[in-house]
């Protein structure tokens, strides 16, 4: 029996929680198929880039950490045992690598330039009020700690449950709930004027 088919069978056994697309590609990664890895890379790249940019706030660091993360997925695919979803495993690697990179920088994690930096998402003719709200929210997020920012983004953008977030951040579920509560309170206080526009 070839290594490839063993990998496929293992994946079938362990990966019930992941999506079929994840599993199919990951089986290929285990069989050392470069095409499968490229497809998995492209599948995860957008959400990891968003996750890491929100957490790290430094594009040049995002590229490094993102590629470090997916390189681990390629090199250490045998260490995924299926105790969690594949996405949880990959996000947990990314989170650990990102926190390590932040500690290595050994500088304040607050982004002092956030309010000066133009957002690249909206066209110049986007409605003024909406643009202002997004700028204010980006600035407010930048004032949160990396952990608080991470919980907010994993909850509202990546739509993950608190148990999954706890697994990624390697902390108790109550810590996730507490971080989320404090982050929400800070955001809503920092967004004071804007909030009334939303309601």
């Amino acid at each position: 029996m070839s290594d490839g088919s063993v990998a496929h069978r293992q994946i079938e056994e362990i990966g019930k929680a992941a999506t079929p697309e994840d599993l199919r590609l990951f089986a290929g990664v285990r069989a050392r198929e470069r095409d499968a890895f490229e497809a998995l890379y492209r599948l995860y790249h957008p959400r990891l880039a968003r996750f890491l940019l929100n957490l790290l706030r430094r594009p040049q660091l995002v590229e490094e950490v993102l590629n470090d993360t997916l390189f681990v997925v390629w090199e250490r695919s045998d260490t995924f045992r299926g105790a969690s979803k594949l996405s949880t495993w990959i996000f947990a690697i990314a989170y650990r690598k990102a926190m390590k990179a932040l500690r290595r920088l050994d500088e304040p994690v607050e982004d002092r330039d956030a309010e000066m930096r133009p957002s690249d998402g909206d066209a110049p003719d986007a409605p003024f009020g909406r643009h202002r709200t997004q700028e204010a929210l980006l600035a407010a997020l930048a004032k949160l700690s990396p952990d608080h920012r991470t919980v907010v983004d994993l909850t509202y953008f990546h739509e993950m449950g608190y148990r999954e977030i706890a697994a990624i951040m390697d902390c108790p579920v109550d810590t996730v709930k507490t971080r989320m509560f404090h982050a929400r309170r800070h955001l809503r206080r920092l967004m004071d004027g804007e909030l009334t526009d939303w309601l």
Binding site: E38, H45, A49, L53, L66, F157, G161, L199
Partner: protein, 212 residues
Amino acid sequence: MARILPFTMDPHRETRDLMPWLITGRLEPEERARVEAHLAACEECSRELAGERALAGEVAELPIATGIGWAAMRDRLDTAARQAAFVPASPPPPRRFTARRIGTMLAAQVALLAAAVTITLRVDAPTASYHALGSAPAAAGGNAIVVFRPDARESDISRLLKANEARLVDGPTAANAYVLHIPNAARTEVLGRLRSDAAVVLAEPLDTAALR
């Protein structure tokens, strides 16, 4: 039907703590039943939920993106492969131009359709300030719009939605468009897959906040 278990802690506090995952539909049935029962009786928590929904929508639609890509990783793999002298580098897959050419030809039509759809939605879109509690699960709003071919079969549409974890939120509109909710993290890829499907005429992201 979920059995409603009593709160093990202060109901305000548990409701307050779990609210974000009520909004994204990520609570266990028992938790959801408890939180919704409390919300039905507590005006303060209901007000807080409305504010929280607004915050959730804004965070999900924040334009955070980078321009980094596969090229750097490919170089790294090549270096590692050379060092290990195990894995031969494979040539990049052949490019496919067909979809792009068809896409260009359809661009004008698509733009017109999208404009019609947007206008229709602007008129019809509910402000969603109130949510009935205890009825349907807290559904996230639509974030994509799709027009199927007139001869598309129900089984094709159903297969497409299931395969892509997309849910029907609204429609058909006057322009025969459907509003879908697609998991935010996968929206770009899912829209790409929908566009390449023979049963789909148009699949575009929908910025719901712009409709408010």
